[in-house]
Symmetry: C2
Subunit: 438 residues, 2 copies
C-alpha cells in the first residue's frame, strides 16, 4: 500500500496535529531542573511541591539472602486513563487525543480521552483544565463500561496502578481540535503502526469488554482460531490457583530505600546509572512545547538502555488458539507476580535466563502474526520502545510450558482482566493487539 492510498481522514488530521504540537525536548543536567532536586537526607529526587512523583531507591531481597538495589519511580496516587465511547450509526467510536509527552520518540502519540492525575480530578468541579474529565469523575459521569485498577511496569514503578476506564455517552460531545472520534475497528488497526497508539490507550483497549469488540472478522484459519479462542472464558479458577502457587513459592521482600543507598549506581551531573551499564538511566529534560497546559517545563525521565521485546507464542490446539502466558515477577508490582507475555525482555535481573526467547528470536517470519514497535509511557520514560509480537508456533513444535508458563485462551485473559493485578501492562497491550487480528 502506498503512502497516498493510506492517507485516510485520520492520517490527515494526525499530520496536522503533529505539526501543531511542535515541541523540543533537550537533555539537561540535574542542576538545571526547576523545582526538582535531590533531598539532602537520603538523596531522593523530588519536586519541591511534594507533588508529581519521586525517584527513590528500591531494595530487593531474594530468597537466598542476596539482594539487589535500583532506583525506582514512586507516585503514591491513582490516575485515570479513560476512553470516552459513543455509537455512531451502529459503530463504536472512541474519542482519542493527539498528546505530546516528553519521552516519546516522535513527541505526539494517540492517547486516551483523558490521562488525569489526582490533582487534575480533585479540581474537576472548580474550573479544572483537563478536558472531558467530567465524563469520568463525579456524579454526572456517563455510563461506566469499564473501571478497573491496573498495574504499570513493575521494573520501573513502585506499586503504580491507574484506573482504566471506558465510559459511554449518548449526548453531543463538543470535539476539541486535539481530539477526534476514531471508529474502534480503525483504532485497533492503528495498533499496527509503529509508535502511534500510546501505552495508556493500549492498556485501556486491553480492558475492552466483549460487547464492544467489533463483530466483523478477518478471513483465514488463524483469525478463525483466534475468534474461537475468545469463546472459552471458563477455567480461570485453575489459572488463579496456579498463579497463587507461583506467588506462594517466593519470599517477596522489597522495600523503598533512600536513593543514595542504591549501591552499584552512580549519580553524575546529568544521569544516574548502573555501574555495570545495565538496565536504565535516570536523566533530566527540558520541554518546550506550544500546546500544553504549561508552556515550558523540566522533569526527570527514566531512560531504558535497550529496546524491549514482549511476545506471545501462540498455538492452534484443535481449532482454538492458545497463548503461552508467563507468571512474571517484577519487584515493583503491588503483588509481585502477574500474568505477562511468554517473553518479556530485558529480563528483571541481568543474569536471568529468558525461557522461550530463542523461539521468538528464531521464528520463521511467515509465522509472525503481529509485529509492531510501540512506546511505553512518554510522561515518565524516555524513548522506551518495546517490540510487541504475536508468533504462531508450528503444529509440530514441542509444547512444554514449564513451571512459570501456562497455555490459556484469549477468553480466559479477558475474564481475568476484568479485575486488577492479574495481567501486567505488556500482556494488556498485547491483548489489545490481538483484538486487531480477529
Amino acid at each position: 500500500m502506498t503512502e497516498a492510498a493510506a492517507d485516510t481522514p485520520f492520517r490527515a488530521w494526525w499530520r496536522e496535529r503533529a505539526s501543531a504540537h511542535r515541541s523540543e525536548v533537550t537533555r539537561i543536567p540535574f542542576s538545571q531542573l526547576d523545582g526538582w532536586g535531590f533531598e539532602r537526607h537520603g538523596g531522593n529526587l523530588v519536586h519541591t511541591s511534594g507533588k508529581f512523583f519521586t525517584v527513590e531507591g528500591l531494595r530487593i531481597e531474594t530468597d537466598d539472602g542476596a539482594e539487589a538495589r535500583q532506583p525506582i519511580i514512586h507516585q503514591p496516587e491513582i490516575g485515570v486513563l479513560g476512553i470516552l465511547v459513543k455509537e455512531f450509526g451502529g459503530v463504536v467510536y472512541c474519542l482519542m487525543q493527539a498528546k505530546m509527552e516528553p519521552g516519546n520518540l516522535n513527541t505526539v502519540q494517540l492517547s486516551p480521552t483523558v490521562q488525569a492525575t489526582r490533582s487534575n480530578y480533585l479540581r474537576v468541579h472548580r474550573g479544572g483544565r483537563t478536558r472531558y474529565l467530567e465524563h469520568f469523575w463525579g456524579a454526572d459521569r456517563g455510563s461506566v463500561l469499564v473501571d478497573v485498577l491496573q498495574s504499570e511496569q513493575g521494573v520501573w514503578f513502585w506499586h503504580k496502578h491507574n484506573r482504566n476506564m471506558i465510559v459511554q455517552v449518548d449526548g453531543d460531545v463538543p470535539v476539541h481540535e486535539a481530539f477526534r472520534w476514531v471508529a474502534l475497528p480503525e483504532l485497533l488497526a492503528l495498533l499496527h503502526s509503529d509508535n502511534l497508539v500510546n501505552m495508556d490507550a493500549r492498556t485501556v483497549l486491553g480492558c475492552l469488554p466483549r460487547e464492544l469488540l467489533p463483530a466483523e472478522g478477518r478471513t483465514g484459519a488463524f483469525a478463525a482460531a483466534l475468534r474461537r479462542s475468545y469463546e472459552t472464558g471458563s477455567g480461570t479458577a485453575a489459572i488463579r490457583s496456579w498463579l497463587h502457587d507461583v506467588k506462594g513459592r517466593g519470599r517477596w521482600n522489597t522495600r523503598l530505600i533512600p536513593l543514595d543507598k542504591t549501591h552499584g549506581w552512580t549519580r553524575g551531573s546529568d544521569e544516574i546509572s548502573a555501574d555495570d551499564g545495565s538496565g536504565f538511566r535516570v536523566i533530566a529534560v527540558r520541554v518546550r512545547s506550544v500546546n500544553r497546559e504549561v508552556p515550558e517545563w523540566t522533569q526527570p525521565l527514566l531512560a531504558p538502555r535497550e529496546e524491549g521485546l514482549a511476545a506471545f507464542l501462540v498455538r492452534r490446539t484443535g481449532d482454538t488458539l492458545r497463548l503461552l502466558v508467563q507468571a512474571r515477577y517484577e519487584p515493583g508490582l503491588l503483588d509481585h507476580v502477574e500474568l505477562a507475555p511468554t517473553v518479556r525482555t530485558p529480563p528483571v535481573a541481568a543474569d536471568e535466563e529468558v525461557p522461550f526467547l530463542k523461539d521468538v528470536l528464531s521464528a520463521d517470519p511467515r509465522h509472525i502474526r503481529f509485529d509492531t514497535l510501540l512506546s511505553e509511557e512518554g510522561g515518565r520514560f524516555h524513548h522506551a520502545l518495546t517490540r510487541y509480537q504475536v508468533i504462531e508456533l508450528p503444529a509440530d513444535h514441542p509444547a512444554g510450558a514449564g513451571d512459570h508458563h501456562r497455555w490459556m485462551t484469549v477468553g480466559q485473559l479477558m475474564e481475568l482482566v476484568r479485575h486488577g493485578h492479574y495481567l501486567n501492562i505488556e500482556a494488556r497491550s498485547l491483548l489489545a493487539c490481538l483484538h486487531s487480528l480477529r
Copy 2:
C-alpha cells in the same frame, strides 16, 4: 439452654482437646527471647534465621503533609489457610482442628484444617510435618473450590495476605485426634460462641461459595430478608467504581522504616508502646505446650490495648436485607482501602471520628441479630478480641450513608469476595457470621 443440653459430641471432643493442649504462656522481657533480637542498625525486631516475621516501623504520610509512625508486623510471604470439605450423606463437613496459639485468651480455638507458612509447604514433599497439607499444595491436591488471596489486618500487618482455600475430597481421610469433621451448619452455629472459631477459620468461611451454603433456613422475617439478600449479586461494577473513587481521592504514601525511627514510641525492657498510651504494645512471651511441633518457644506478639468492635448495620429495604458497608483505609493494606464493616474500632487514627458508632452503641438489644466476642490471629496477636455484631436498624431510621459508606446486599459481597483485596478481614468474618443467620 442449659450447659448439659448443649453437650453435643462436638463439645465433648472440644473439652477433651482443650485439656490435651495444656500450655502456659508467660510474658518475658525482650532479652529472654531465644533467637529473636533487635538489629543493631535500625532496631528492627527479627529472628536470627531471617524467617518468621519481623517487627519494623511504618511511616504514613497524610495528604496535608502530616505524618504518623507506628510499629508493624512484616512477613513477606504467603501462607495457606485451608479447610478440607467432604460430603457425608448429602451434608458438607469441614475438617477442623483444635489448635493452640499463644496469643489466644483461651489457648485452643477451632482452626482450619491447615494454617501453613511457606516453609511448611515448601517441604511438603520431603517429610513435611503439617498434617493434610498435601490436599492443598502440589500436583495431588483435591478439587479446589475456593482459592483466593485475602488481606489481613492493615493496622497491624504490612501488606499481609494469605491464600484462603477450600478443597473438596471424596476419598477416605484418616482423622488425627486433634482434628474433627464438623458439619457445616454446626460449624456456622459455633460462630455464636465467644472465642471459639478462630480468625483463620472465619476468613475461609467468609469465602464460602454459594453452592456450599446450607439450604435449610431459619424462620422469621429477618432470616427471609437475609436469604433474599443473597439472591442479588449484580451491581458490583458500580460498587467497584465507588471503591475506586474513594481510593482515587487519597494520596497513599506509606513505607517501612526502621523500628527505631518510630518517633512517639518507646522501647522498654518488656514492651514497645506509644507514648500517648494508645493503640497497642509489642510484647514478648514464652510458650510451653505439650502438643505442638516445638515443645517450647518464645516469640513477640502484638497486644492491642482495647477490645475492638466490628459491626454491620443492616436494614430491610422492601423484602431484602442490605448492609451498610464502609470503604476503610488501613495503612498496611496492599491497596490501602477495602470494604469493611459499617463500624470498626479502634479507629485507624486516634483522633478519627467513627461514623455510625453511636447507632451501634445505642442499639436496642432487640435489634441485635448477632453479637459474639471473637479472637484475632493468636499466632501474632495477644488477647486481640473483637465484638462482632449485626444490628438491624428500625425501618424509620434515617438512611444516609455518607461518602465512605454504601448499602449493599450479601450477594454483592459474595460476588466481590471471590477476588482478593475487596473485603477486609473483619468484613469477611462478619460474612461468615451472616451465613449462620440464614
